[in-house]
């Protein structure tokens, strides 16, 4: 598989860059949003709630879209239609789809939490986004190791 990487066609490089960079920024932004959500509860709760919501909305969501567009573009070049998907592709799709759902629910909860000043909703959003980040890191392991 590593040999395959060394002979990867040049036309795959840009979609791969989009996919990898989008995923890296997604993990960082969702991770910060998660930590800020879970840390809220003290005197600076409104500040941390806004930080978390904006991290999810302004950085994580666009990064997810870039990651997913890169993934689909790369998939169409590497596998095409009718090809059998290897296990690591399956793991990638499952975590991407489940992660999208978790990110969407996180955004809704986090947005409502900012409006209502709810610490409970903020923490729920933090837990959900943390689960998504862990799932995405499992996916990174699968993409690298290709089990």
């Amino acid at each position: 598989m590593s040999m395959l990487a060394s002979i990867r066609p040049d036309s795959w490089n840009f979609p791969l860059l989009l996919h990898v960079l989008g995923a890296m920024v997604l993990v960082g932004a969702a991770g910060l949003g998660s930590i800020a959500s879970l840390a809220s509860g003290g005197a600076e709760s409104p500040f941390l709630r806004r930080l978390a919501f904006r991290s999810f909305l302004i950085v994580a969501l666009p990064a997810y879209i870039v990651m997913r567009v890169g993934a689909e573009w790369l998939y169409s070049k590497e596998f095409g239609e009718g090809a059998d998907d290897p296990t690591w592709i399956g793991i990638g799709y499952i975590t991407a789809d489940a992660g999208a759902l978790l990110l969407l629910i996180t955004l809704i909860l986090s947005g409502i939490a900012v409006r209502r000043g709810s610490t409970g909703l903020t923490r729920a959003a933090g837990v959900l986004s943390l689960v998504a980040v862990i799932a995405w890191l499992v996916s990174v392991w699968a993409m690298g190791g290709k089990p």
């Binding site: 060394s6 490089n13 960079l21 960082g28 800020a36 840390a39 500040f47 990174v140 690298g144 190791g145």
Partner: protein, 159 residues
């Protein structure tokens, strides 16, 4: 999965920790410019601590597993152009990031001092420190170089 597969997976996870941390710091730098009270600066600092752990894991992991992989794989050598470019970029980005961290660390020190004195209002010195153009410049330079290293890793010039 063989050893090389594990090395690649760990190298990639380390790269995610590194760029994830840079993303966290980038958001932190943007937010910090508007944080004028010690409470907000300290609240942001506590959220950024996870970035400090991640950047350490990322910096060490990328170099250890990356060089190990270059030695282990027959297709690549440590003296390949793209590997040398990545090593130089990694060293430059790490040093610039370290200096940026030291420069912005003064803001957190000042915020802690004000909080210990029971002052939670806006402070001119704190505001000036969090808007330090030196720390910002060093951070964004480190970020740009890291992005170039990522481009180098994917395109592998000379391979």
């Amino acid at each position: 999965m063989n050893l090389d597969d594990w090395l690649l997976a760990l190298h990639l996870l380390s790269a995610f920790a590194l760029v994830g941390a840079i993303t966290i710091f980038s958001i932190g730098f943007v937010v910090l410019r508007r944080a004028e009270t010690p409470g907000r600066v300290l609240a942001l600092g506590s959220a950024l601590k996870v970035g400090q752990v991640a950047v350490t894991v990322g910096v060490v992991g990328t170099i250890v597993f990356g060089v190990w992989l270059a030695i282990s794989l027959e297709a690549y050598q440590v003296w390949d152009l793209w590997v040398i470019l990545a090593l130089v970029g990694w060293a430059a980005a790490t040093e610039l990031g370290r200096r940026s961290g030291n420069a912005i660390g003064a803001a957190f020190g000042r915020a802690e001092q004000l909080a210990a004195e029971g002052k939670d209002g806006p402070d001119a010195e704190l505001a000036a420190t969090v808007r330090s153009s030196q720390a910002q410049t060093l951070h964004w330079a480190s970020t740009a170089i890291t992005l170039l290293v990522l481009v180098d890793m994917i395109w592998k010039p000379g391979a």
